[in-house]
Structures are given as structure tokens and as C-alpha cells.
Amino acid sequence: MRSNRPRATGEFSDSSMSDIAFLLLIFFLVTTTFDVQKGISYQLPKKPDEQTEEVVIDETNRLVMTIKQWGIGSYVALIDQAPPDGPLQRARAGEDVALDDPVLQEGIMTLAAQRAETVETTSARLLNNLEVAKGVPSGTYSSLNSAIQAENLTPMVRSGLIREIMGADAPVTVDPNFGEVAFGDTLVLADARQGNIASAVRESELVVILKFFPDCDYDGMIAALDVIRRNGVSRTGITLQERLGGGV
């Protein structure tokens, strides 16, 4: 008599194995991140020669600070010279303040905001950046407005760190192309095909000269640059505090 019981086979289904392998592959593809180094960008001043005259920064736009190390990872600033009739005057009498002092930071931001360049100046730089990005000779477009019309561009404003800190208190200027532009904002031109083509930040005309004691460490320079960039200053000079019988 034949029995109808199913026979046990010696196979197992391995079709899901490829699913598992692909799943692992995709998981690692998505989650693997490569370390990207970020940093503070800095532009050294142009080398003086016969053709270029030495640039003299007006006293009203100049803040000079000496940075001194005060133990490991701690730095103090001495205000050597501040623009007249503005904040940070009190600190002129050789008083040193910690770099992270809120009064110092607020003072720098106020000075920077008072000296914010006009939107026209930023627009002129934006027009220049657009010409460079398009690879056309300088002066191709008569104005930013005509460039926007000719290239069918969308003007946009990307809000900056200052607006984030000051919120509604941030002083704004209304521009016919961009609308409300605060100090520290970035003006962007975009088109439908390539997206953002050119941008320019509305900077401050304030120049901060940082004079470091020769034995102050590099960490102090980054800390000082960090403080002044966060408060809207992009134009900086770095030098050494001159000492009798030496110095650079």
C-alpha cells in the first residue's frame, strides 16, 4: 500500500539571501559619511608694490584689539582704538575683557551694523560675481536690474546669522529687486535651469585689526576670528603686537 504522506526534501529556499545582501549594501551606502573638513576662510591683503598704494583705513571704520593669552584656552582683548562716538569707548583705557564677554560682542556687532554697506554696494559686487559666473566680460550688463531681465533670473535673499541673533530688531533696508535686506544677509540670483548662480553677502565696512602677542597660541586667533565673524565683521587684519627690540 502506498502512503500519501509528503516526503521531506533536503532543500531550503535561498532566494531571500540576495534581498539580505542588497539590504546590507544599501544600508551601508546610505549611512556611510565621509569626514568633510570645514574651516574659516581668510583672504590676506594684497602685497604692496609700486602700482598699489597702501590702503589707509579711516579711523571711523577701524577697531584695533590686542589679543593676549590668559591661561590655556582663555584669551583677553584690549581695545587699543575704537571708532569715536561708538560703543567700546570705555574699554579704551587699557581695560582687558574676555573674548567671550557679551558686552564686547554686542559692541562689535553694533559697530558693524552701523557701518553696514549699502545694498547698492552689495548689488554691484553681486553683478560682478554674476559676470564671472557667466564667463562674460565685465560691464556686459548695464545694471543688476537689466541683468535680471535679460537672463530671466530670480532675486532672493538668504537670511544671515545677524538676523538670526537680532531677530526683528535687525535693521533692514528695502531694495526694489530684493525686498528687505538686513546686514549679514546674502543676496542670491537663481535661474530655473542651474539654480543659484551668483551670491554676495551684505558686509560691514568695519575693519578689525587683531594684534596678537607673539606667544599667544593659534587657538586664540581662531577664537578671535570666530567672535568677530559671528558679529558680522568680515574684514580683518592679523598682525603681531610690536615689542621693543623686536616684533614683525
Binding site: 535561498d14 532566494s15 573638513q37
Partner: protein, 154 residues
Amino acid sequence: MKFKRRMKVGSAIGSSTMSDIVFLLLVFFMATTIFKDDSGLRIRFPQAHPQVMSELGKENLMVAVWIKQMNPGDSQSEVIARIGDYDLPIDQVAVQLKGLADKFWREQNKHLDVIVLNADTRVPMSAMVGLFADLRFEELYSIQFNAQPLSTGI
């Protein structure tokens, strides 16, 4: 009369080799992928606020320079730099970079855009300002100071 049943043709495709292929690919790429070693010096990076930092675009031609003092804290100790696999004193960095920039221009018709400085936090500013003066003299103006992002808020 009993007819013989005709043999049926199965419609399944054997997929058991698929996993072998995928694993083989996985193992192949795992074995052959080489991560470019930075071959830098062991340094402590300074920290900065993420919003003041920028990232360099891939199209930028850059050269990384590593800077460290041999004995941090000792003011007499020599400050050394490393470009690629070569160690050199810090006062020769600018001349070497100028040579590299000229070579890029001659051979590839490309400008050296940025000099990326990976400097140790304890390097004295006297050495750094000296380096900036040398770079200016060689007309290399664009620098990026690499830093690690601070995790705290504004």
C-alpha cells in the same frame, strides 16, 4: 488505456547564485577600496562656530599644509610643517607652495585656489604671522583655517 503524463516544464529561475554574485561584488569593493590617507601630523584642531565656517567646493584646487610645534609649550621648539609626505621648516612653506602653484599652472593650466591650514592649537602666533607674511610675499592670498565645529549653540 492509460496515457503517460507529459512532463511539465517548470517556470522558475534559479536565484540562488544571485546572492553569490552580490556578496562577491561586496567583497571585491571592500577589498579594493582604498581611503586616501591624509598623512598629516597628529594635531589638535581648534574649534569654531559652525555658521562661521565654510566648506570648500570639490572644484577648488587646494593644498593642505599641516603645522605643529615639535614640543608644544616650549617657545624655543621648532615649528614644522608637512605638505604631502614632506616635512619642512615653517619658513620654507611659502616658497614650496609657490613652486607647487607654478607647477599646477605650467602642467595643468590651473590656479591654486586655496591653501588649507591644518595647524595645531598650540602653535605660537609669532610663527603663524611670519607664515602669513611669507604667503603674501609669494602672492598666495586665499587661506582656509580648518577647525572642528563647536557643538554648542550661538
